[in-house]
């Protein structure tokens, strides 16, 4: 390089380059930054926001243009996400000579589209907000090019004020001049406003507006009341998280006995008081996306103050986040002299089953019974965005719910795909996905589609996204389950429908997230999904690529009795599994009695149902297996929320692991994982049945539940690893993808991953796409994309 430079020296010539920058380049102060770089590099030209991309003309000496490009790449604006830069030499004759560097107004063009997620309030804005001399002192909507709402206020692209819900608010002269001046932090910041212009907060059905509304809210929370608060992507229900009575009352009103509530803390220090926070976690906690982080609670003395018990009862972790909307900051700190707690419960403001409320009508209808005040504002939310929820695995983010701050950033897959598809996603934790060529836009969290209101939200949001991303999908992808509402939604779109088996979609989503092109051994450990043979699957070993899959193995099939209720009552599965082992009613009843799984009549009914295969389906669901083990070990016989029993099982095992590192192996050699028993199913059967038998025996002998929980994880991991080994032998496939809701269990994930790596497998797992059903739309979309390639 140095030599070249010397050679080129002296004969510097003028060049013109046309540069297109793709990615999140709108509303992040991109053009002023470009303009500054141009001045620094000493070039002329122009920059224009084209909607899908920013187009730059750079004219000058070759080395200056090169310098400019380098600056562009290395010092992009803080909140920009550059995904691609295309440069092209053009002739000066064609575009003329540029005498200066100009910022040109937006001009809409078709093409690749990137929509920015919403961005948490930035440091500078925070400072201004608490500066009594600033004209935005205590302004609940303060924002700049680095922060503020994006996706949630957007109607269409390009991102300009008149295409957002800010269009109703004319700017005051001061704001307008900041908005138009490239030298300010608010140049081209679409949601810009101040205390003299823009939206206002108010209490619904009451007089208070602005300042008095905020003070009334703070007072209500301080006094132990519950307030619904409109934020960025929807309403929250909020109360003092240090006030046991207030939290209990919210639990009663929300009909939510034990499921943990999310907490918002005043600042990082407050979080550290309550939780263990490492460096990575601290960075994310205080970063611009502000998800809810699942952090381990600190062990505290009984009389210490802080978070009260009922926030996340019986859970070693708590979901915690920092304020991201200015109005949330104001809840903690204001100039009214009210001493606010350091922690607030911030749970989604929705009626049970319904999506998070986004306007006053919904809030009044659904939340007024659940709270004492509703603090709203008149900036409309166009698209809902629930808080994202992030767990950690080996120090890295491990996404549980990908929504605000992340969606709809696309996943990029380097396949030569062309076309547009829509995937309707799963039934619970629904998200949908729009695929355009190799880019996959996974939507914010929609919710559980058992509720009609959520189904409607899905239909409406699909429609909005199609408009926003300017796509017309060629096919709609959905699950194979005939009774999923998401399947119905897909079918009603009037497009050709492609149905994808649930667990295959899980594996494909893991492949797509890791940009894996070749075949994998997919370990899909999950709740339940509809199998291609009409039975219920969920503990599967699939040989898969984008073209299709083969079911190579599964856990041992059992009878899942009672339909949907069996997913809530693990004891039912436990009785079924024990009966399968004993093949004897008397013996089963005896064991069930010892384990105290259910009453005698309940047991009798279940056995009768098993005999008659009444309301019973054959199932290989790993999620149900976990529920059953949780019941057998006396940890949980029922779940009041999804995953409760299996989570408790994981916590028990982890607690044991912390105490003791060595475990004694099962005494009887019958569960040697390499020993293959009967395989009538024409596939490999992981011998989970004998594992159940072992655990049942040991539990009745009085062995500690935590220890057995740990052994269960260990043995199950062994069975999976052994299964993968056998499949590798047969197929030479050496790459394993781990997906499905069960892999939210980090103990199992670690045991499986480490075990596989020890055997020299390449292991793919999820990172920022949830392993649960929130991720399957990505897999469905990827399949649909491959599907349309084959038709072309």
């Amino acid at each position: 390089m140095g030599n070249l430079y010397v050679l080129d020296r002296g004969k510097e010539r003028m060049i013109t380059k046309k540069i297109r920058v793709y990615g999140i380049v709108q509303g992040v102060g991109f053009r002023p930054t470009v303009s500054r770089h141009a001045a620094a590099a000493g070039i002329t030209g122009s920059v224009c926001n084209k909607g899908p991309y920013v187009e730059i003309f750079a004219q000058g000496e070759e080395k200056c243009v090169k310098d400019f490009l380098e600056r562009l790449e290395k010092q992009p604006p803080k909140r920009a996400a550059i995904l691609k830069i295309n440069t092209e030499d053009v002739k000066e004759e064609e575009y003329g000579k540029f005498n200066d560097f100009q910022i040109i107004e937006s001009e809409k063009t078709k093409g690749e589209i990137f929509v920015s997620p919403d961005i948490a309030i930035c440091e500078e804005c925070k400072k201004e907000m608490y500066d009594p001399k600033d004209r935005r002192y205590l302004h609940p909507f303060i924002n700049c090019t680095c922060c503020g709402p994006r996706l949630t206020i957007l109607d269409a692209l390009p991102y300009d004020r008149e295409r957002t819900s800010m269009k109703e608010f004319p700017m005051c002269p001061d704001c307008a001049s900041e908005y138009e001046d490239p030298a300010t932090r608010r140049y081209d910041a679409q949601p810009v406003c101040c205390n003299d212009c823009g939206p206002e907060v108010y209490l619904t059905g009451r007089e208070e507006r602005g300042r008095s509304a905020i003070i009334a809210t703070r007072k209500m929370i301080h006094d132990g009341g519950i307030v619904a608060i409109k934020g960025i992507g929807g309403f929250h229900l909020c109360c003092d998280a240090t006030n046991e009575e207030a939290v209990q009352r919210l639990r009663t009103l929300k009909n939510r006995p034990v499921k943990p509530f999310a907490v918002m803390a005043r600042d990082v220090e407050a979080v550290k008081q309550e939780c263990l926070v490492n460096e990575v976690q601290e960075e994310i906690l205080d970063g611009h996306q502000k998800p809810i982080l699942l952090l381990e609670k600190r062990k505290k003395s009984a009389d210490s103050t802080g978070l009260c018990k009922s926030v996340a009862p019986g859970n070693p972790k708590v979901g915690i986040m920092l304020p991201y909307a200015p109005v949330q900051m104001l809840l903690f700190r204001y100039d009214d002299g009210i001493q606010m707690p350091d922690y607030l419960v911030m749970t989604s403001g929705n009626a049970s089953g319904a999506p998070i409320c986004r306007d006053d009508k919904e809030a009044v209808e659904e939340l007024s019974q659940l709270c004492d005040l509703i603090l709203s504002h008149d900036r409309k939310i166009r698209i809902r965005a629930d808080d994202s929820v992030m767990d950690f695995y080996k120090g890295e983010p491990y996404m549980i719910r990908r929504s605000r701050g992340y969606a709809p950033l696309p996943m990029m897959v380097t396949m030569p795909w062309k076309g547009q598809v829509l995937a309707a996603g799963g039934e619970l934790k629904n998200t949908f996905c729009i695929g355009v060529d190799g880019r996959f836009y996974l939507s914010p969290y929609v919710g559980d589609l058992e509720d009609l209101r959520t189904v409607k939200a899905l239909q409406e949001t699909i429609h909005r996204f199609e408009t926003l991303l300017e796509v017309e999908p060629e096919v709609a992808a959905c699950d194979l389950h005939p009774k999923y509402n998401s399947t119905v939604v897909a079918e009603e779109l009037g497009l050709p429908v492609v149905k994808i088996q649930h667990h295959y979609a899980h594996i494909l989503s893991c492949m797509a997230e890791n940009d894996r092109k070749e075949q994998v051994i997919g370990v899909a450990f999950d709740g339940t999904g509809y199998g291609t043979d009409g039975t219920i699957w969920g503990g599967e070993l699939l040989l898969a690529d984008y073209h299709g899959f083969e079911r190579m193995g599964s856990i041992e099939p059992f009878l899942q009795i009672g339909g949907d209720i069996s997913a809530k009552e693990g004891w039912r599965i436990a009785v079924s599994l024990i009966y399968q082992q004993t093949q004897d009613k008397e013996q089963t009843m005896e064991i069930v009695k010892k384990l105290n799984l259910c009453s005698e009549p309940e047991c009798k009914v279940l056995l009768a149902m098993a005999d008659r295969k009444m309301n019973a389906v054959t199932s290989t669901s790993a999620g149900r297996l976990f529920d059953a083990v949780s019941a057998i070990l006396g940890i949980r016989t029922k779940s009041t929320f999804e995953g409760e029993a299996s989570m408790a099982l994981e916590f028990a095992a982890e607690a044991y692991e912390k105490e003791i590192w060595e475990i004694d192996e099962p005494a009887d050699g019958e569960s040697d994982p390499d020993e293959e028993k009967k395989e009538p199913e024409d596939r490999l059967i992981m011998q989970t049945g004998s594992l159940i038998k072992y655990l049942t025996e040991k539990k009745t002998e009085g062995i500690q539940a935590e220890k057995l929980a740990y052994i269960f994880h260990q043995k199950l991991a062994d069975l999976i690893i052994c299964g993968c080994r056998k499949i590798r032998k047969k197929t030479k496939c050496n790459c394993v993808a781990l997906s499905g809701g069960v892999f939210q269990n980090r103990l199992l994930l670690r045991m499986v991953e480490e075990g596989l790596e020890k055997e020299h497998f390449t292991v793919l797992r999820h990172h920022l796409i949830p392993a649960n059903d929130g991720g399957i739309a990505l897999g469905q979309a990827a399949y649909a994309m491959q599907y349309i390639q084959e038709g072309k």
């Binding site: 319904a354 039934e427 189904v455 009549p601 009914v605």
Partner: protein, 328 residues
């Protein structure tokens, strides 16, 4: 008794039982009954009845075979006049049991005000049928100007059931299988002309009357939602279900809305008429527990939405197919 030997002799014996019970002036001894035609339009309906077991708490196949056809006629607004019945009986079926069936038929027909005018019995070889099958055909008279049909439901209609649901299905289930459930459930099987008459006397503004038999109320509602292209919204807390039935359903993981009834009507009529109808029903036998359980809407045509007790708005799963768990 030794009438299992010759087919001929058996048939005669059986004929005698039925003749003795069904005796009325219109019952023919010849090849066909000769009847005076009704004044209004005529409704005809036929149904075959197979039920296992043939005897269950609250009734038997004989009572069922009368109620089934009488109720089908009634739902068209037709007063049941005449019935014919055909029996296929398995060889060796106990005579006392047949007698019991005939008695039940006689009693139910009398109650419903319908005459059995023609009958036929066939004896099939052992194993060719299971006990006894009965086919009844009914003729009814439509005198009133009431027009009801499955495609006439309108947004704004109230949805009424005439009593607690799912008892027949639940009874049969428990009688068929020994689940070891100790529940005191009897079938709701009943002839409902009187109830329909009372409703029609109370108001002419009626859109739909259906008896919720096989597939239960849920299936009927889905049928009507489809035929009328309307949405249906139910309020779970308003649906009458006997505690015993609820208990059994909870244990077995079943939805009471999908259990068969044999003595329950689903009525749809303009909201303004709903209370009048319920009041009229409450004074009739078999419908003291009549209740308004929901309404017809414009939203979600073809679908049935249930406002659950915890406040969710669940789409009632479509009837039919396997009971597959949907929870992941």
């Amino acid at each position: 008794m030794a009438h299992g030997a010759g087919g001929h002799q058996t048939s005669e014996l059986i004929d005698m039982i039925f003749k003795a019970h069904f005796d009325n002036p219109d019952l023919t001894a010849d090849d066909a009954a000769v009847l005076t035609p009704p004044i209004g339009k005529m409704a005809v309906s036929t149904d075959g009845f197979i039920v296992s077991p043939a005897f269950y708490p609250g009734g038997n196949i004989g009572k069922l075979s009368i109620c089934g056809t009488v109720n089908d006629l009634s739902c068209m607004g037709a007063k049941p006049l005449y019935l014919t019945c055909a029996f296929v009986i398995e060889e060796g079926f106990p005579m006392e049991k047949l007698e019991e069936i005939a008695e039940a038929m006689e009693k139910t027909a009398k109650e419903a005000g319908v005459r059995i005018v023609s009958g036929d019995t066939k004896v099939a070889g052992k194993g060719q049928v299971d006990g006894v099958f009965i086919t009844t055909t009914g003729i009814g008279e439509i005198t009133d100007g009431v027009e009801v049909a499955g495609n006439l439901a309108k947004p704004g209609d109230a949805i009424i059931v005439t009593g607690d649901i799912g008892r027949h299905g639940c009874t049969i289930l428990l009688a068929r299988e020994d689940f070891g459930i100790d529940a005191d459930v009897t079938s709701d099987c009943a002839p409902l002309w009187g109830n329909v008459k009372a409703v029609m006397d109370a108001t002419h503004e009626l859109h739909v009357i259906r008896d919720a038999t096989r597939g239960g109320v849920g299936t009927v509602l889905y049928e009507i939602a489809g035929q009328s292209q309307v949405g249906i919204r139910l309020d779970a807390s308003k649906i009458p279900v006997a505690p015993e039935v609820r208990g059994v359903c909870g244990m077995l993981g079943l939805e009471p809305l999908y259990l068969a009834c044999e003595g329950r009507l689903v009525i749809m009529a303009p909201k303004e008429q709903a209370q009048t109808i319920v009041d009229a029903l409450k004074v009739c036998p078999y419908s003291q527990d009549a209740a308004i359980i929901g309404e017809v809407t414009e939203e979600q045509p073809g679908k049935v939405v249930m406002l659950t007790e915890i406040g969710t708005q669940a789409l009632l799963p479509q009837p039919g197919g396997e009971l597959l768990p949907r929870i992941c």
